[in-house]
Every structure is written in C-alpha cells, then in structure tokens.
Symmetry: C2
Subunit: 296 residues, 2 copies
C-alpha cells in the first residue's frame, strides 16, 4: 500500500501580526491559552490586562495584571477597560455556554439588555458574531488569538513522527467532507471516521466529549479494531476571532484513549497553543498529527 507522505514543512501560513494600542485586554475562559497568548504578547514587550471569567479562567492568569469578573458583569468589564486604557481585545479560552436565566447582570450590563437577550437564540456562529459585533459597536477592536500570536496556529504538513497510511488518508478525506457539511449547517467542528465509517460527529458537546464517546463505543465493541481519525477544522464563515477550533495535549490523549490512529487539523486554521506538548503527546501515543490544507 503506497503512502502519500506529507512533507514536514512546519508552519507555512502566518498572518501579519496586528498593531496594538495600549495594553491588550484578554477576556479569558478556561485552559492555558489565555496565559500562552499573554506570554507571547508580553515577550514582545507589550502590556496586557486579563479579564478572568469567574468559574471559567484558571488562577494562572494572576501572573499578569488582571481583573476577575462574573458572567454578566459587563459594566465592570467596560469600566476596567476604560481605566486601563484597553481598546484592543482578545477573547480566548473555553467557556461553557452560560444559562442566561442564572446569570446576574450588573448595572452596566442592564444597559445592553437587547444584546443579551439576543444571545439566547441561535447557533454558536450567530451568538459569537453578536458578541464581536457588540464589542466593536462599543469602539473596541476584537482580534483573534491567531492574529495576535500567529505562532500558535497548527502548521501544514506532518507534525508527528508517525505518518498516516493511505487508508487513514482516505478516512481523513471522509471526515473532512463531514466536518465541512456540518460547518455549513453551523453544527460542529469535528468528526471521527474509522475505516470509512463515521463514528461520531461533534455538536454542542465539544470535541473532548465526542472522543470520550468514541472510547465508549470501542469498549462496548461497537467500534471495530484500533483505527480511526479525528478531523478538526473551522466552520465556513466561522467567527474565528473568538471561536477558532483548538487542539491540545488533552485532545491527543483522548484520541489515543478512543483507539484512534491519528488527528488531522486544518492547517493555519486551528489553534495549537501548547505546540510542543501537543506534538509530544502525539509521539508518545504513536498518533499521527497532520496539518492538512483546508479551503472553505
């Protein structure tokens, strides 16, 4: 069986770094990405101010100038932005979609009630575009983490020691097709295919939860043999500034637990902030990790 082995070309597609005025405001959800972005920015001599969303962001953000705010404390957020001189914002890190019925809004937030109510309806894309549009309407510039720190994007080509076989490349093509169609319908960003069979498709549950399900299918004998690829890519027209697909060491470990043989991501379109740890996890678990060219 011939192997079309992709070249290990590393990162090809870089975006131009943007120019930031004043400290960069980082609205931080969970995980390490907010701090990684902050490290990247401060390493270049720029200032940051992190707004940690209570219950979502890691305490690690306290390494940087920061303010904690709860869901709904929009007034506090805008007040601090004004005080700190933040006009440029990045919104990064995982957040659970909050149940608006349980969010307590501060006085500053109540002024924006029509916007908040509009968040209660629609798919991710609509909600996220609303959020970006809302901050822009207040005069902020909203940047993607990938614009601020383009070195955090997964590059093109084979990033791991293991390379996909021809059969695995065929599964990748099927999964890409599924993810593309799902994306057009604003459903999800990921799918798992094994030997031509679509094992799982991501919707609201997220990629980690989808991989747990694949592991369960394997344990129950409904997925056959050790095989399968995870493909992750953005939705066409997705608001990539605040909802870029992300891959990290946890994704890799969960893919390994699900018995998959590798992962393919849309090159230049997926955040891989913990780059070394992600590649190490792939090599340790003998998974391939491929950055594949992706056209919307």
């Amino acid at each position: 069986m011939s192997q079309r082995q992709p070249a290990d070309t590393g990162i090809r597609k870089l975006r131009e770094p943007v120019v930031i005025e004043g400290p960069l405001g980082i609205i931080a959800g969970g995980g390490q990405i907010p701090c990684i972005v902050a490290d990247s920015v401060t390493a270049r001599g720029l200032a940051v101010h992190i707004f940690g969303i209570r219950g979502e962001a890691s305490e690690d953000i306290e390494r940087f100038p920061h303010t904690w705010a709860k869901w709904g404390e929009l007034g506090k957020l805008f007040g601090t932005c004004d005080k700190e001189g933040c006009r440029d914002l990045v919104i990064v890190g995982g957040v659970s979609r909050p149940d608006l019925a349980n969010v307590k809004f501060d006085f500053g937030a109540l002024k924006h009630l029509p916007f908040i109510v509009s968040l209660g309806m629609g798919g991710d894309d609509q909600v996220l575009s609303s959020i970006v549009g809302f901050f822009e309407s207040k005069g902020y510039r909203v940047h993607g983490a990938s614009d601020i720190a383009p070195e955090l994007l997964a590059g093109e080509g084979n990033l791991s020691k293991k390379v996909p076989t021809a059969d695995e490349l065929a599964d990748i093509e099927i999964a890409y097709k599924v993810v593309r169609e799902l994306g057009r319908l604003d459903v999800g960003q990921a799918a798992v295919v094994a030997k031509g069979y679509v094992l799982a498709v991501e919707a609201a549950e997220g990629t980690d939860s989808m991989l747990d399900r694949c592991a369960e299918l394997r344990r129950s004998g409904r997925a056959r043999g050790r095989a399968g690829v995870l493909v992750k890519a953005p939705k066409p027209g997705q608001e990539e500034r605040i909802d870029m697909p992300t891959i990290g060491p946890v994704t890799v470990r969960k893919a390994a637990e699900a018995g998959l043989s590798g992962i393919a991501v849309a090159a230049g379109r997926v955040l891989m902030a913990e780059r070394d740890a992600t590649i190490d996890a792939a090599n340790q678990n003998r998974l391939f990790l491929l950055g594949r060219n992706w056209d919307d």
Copy 2:
C-alpha cells in the same frame, strides 16, 4: 405567535402488503419489533420462523417457532431456512455491529468468506446493502418490516395531544436539514435542535445514546431551558428493508429526560411498532409527536 397546527390525519401512506410463500423467516435482533412483526403476520394466518441472534434477540421470540443462532452461524441459518421452507426473509430489531475479529464462523459461513470480509469496511449503508444483496444472491427475497406490516409505520400529522409551537416547528425544519445532509454522507438518522442551536447529531452511537448526551448537556447547564426537538428520518437511499429508523416508548422517555419538547419523524418512513405505547409515552410526558412529510 401563530401556530401552524398540523391536522391529526393518522396514517396516510400505506404500502401494499407483499405476498409471502411458505413461512416468513424473521431474523431477529433485539427489542420487541421482531415479535410485533411476527404477531402481525400470524394474525393474518401466515406462518413464521424466527431466527434469534444469540445475545441480541429477546427470549420472547420463543413464543413462535424459532431457532437460535450466533453471529457467524450462517450455515445453520441457511440449513434451517431450507428445512422450514423459508424463502422470504425479514431482518428486524437492533443489533450491535459485531466485531468480526471475535465472531466464530461455522462451516457454512466459511463458504461466504469474501462477503464476510467485505462487511469489515464502510458505512452502515454499504454494509446493510451488502447483507441484502447477499441473501438475494442466495435466492431469498428480503422484505422490509414495513412492507410486511405497514401498520407499524409512523403516520403523517400530529399523533400526540400536544402540538408544536411555531418556534418548535422552526427547530424541526433546522433538524430536518441537518438530518438530510448527514444522511447524504451516510452518517446518521437523527439530530436534536433547541432554539436554533444544534445540540446533538447521531452517528454510530445511536439515537438513545444521543438523547442521553442531551440530558447530560442539560444537567451540566450547557443546554439552556426546557426546549428542543428530536427529528428522526431515513438517510436518502438508505436500505430501508433492514435499517429503517425506529421510534418507540424508550425514545420518547429519553427525549423527555433530555428536556425536549417533542419529536418529529418522517411520516411513512419510520417504524413505530409499539404505536400505542409510544403515543401514550408522548402524552404522559407532554411531548408532541409529529409525523412530518419527508421527501428525499
């Protein structure tokens, strides 16, 4: 808000009952449907012989003339068919997709090794079409349960006391679109949409498992409010003779546990063998149950 209330027209689309020679052979997976089909056939004065797949079929099949066979005992199956004079077959009931590596084949099965190996690859549609084609190549006629007992199909119109609101009808339209696109890619038969947001999409895990996931999303606060519709429909070009989408009281109860407000199925294209129990479950749980016109 206006409600386009569908008329309760009951079953509209009936297929012509087929003519069976000799006893009808029923290859039975799990659940009550094999016995319900057998009851329907015997009530019309026809004979049946049930082949229970060991580990899948319910012991209730022993009410009828029957033979137990394991996965892989194709020789036993063909031998019994010959002895009993079965030339017409129905394949019904849920089965877990067997791990071929763990199936023990009898001598009669080994003669069909190329066919068996072909089952190891591809999506459900390919595998199921192979199975039908295989039995047909041996001179059997393979019928759908819905051809044998068309009264088991979900009809068109509103089947429950509750009717969908305009918002719920809008969610149904989105879910139909998702299911249709997924079907074209041979992924799954069902999706859940709440307030325009695609909560879950079915692939290999099956509808019940997908509904459990929706219940989990709700418990974790990631699905908002009590809302959402389940839509179930066949894949375009699906081998409906042995893989017709199915809905029953368990589906309804799981939809209720997931906090959904109702279920819509493709009228005339979805098996609802436990008709009364399914409608009762919908009424008890205050879910709507709608048979919606479906064009491939």
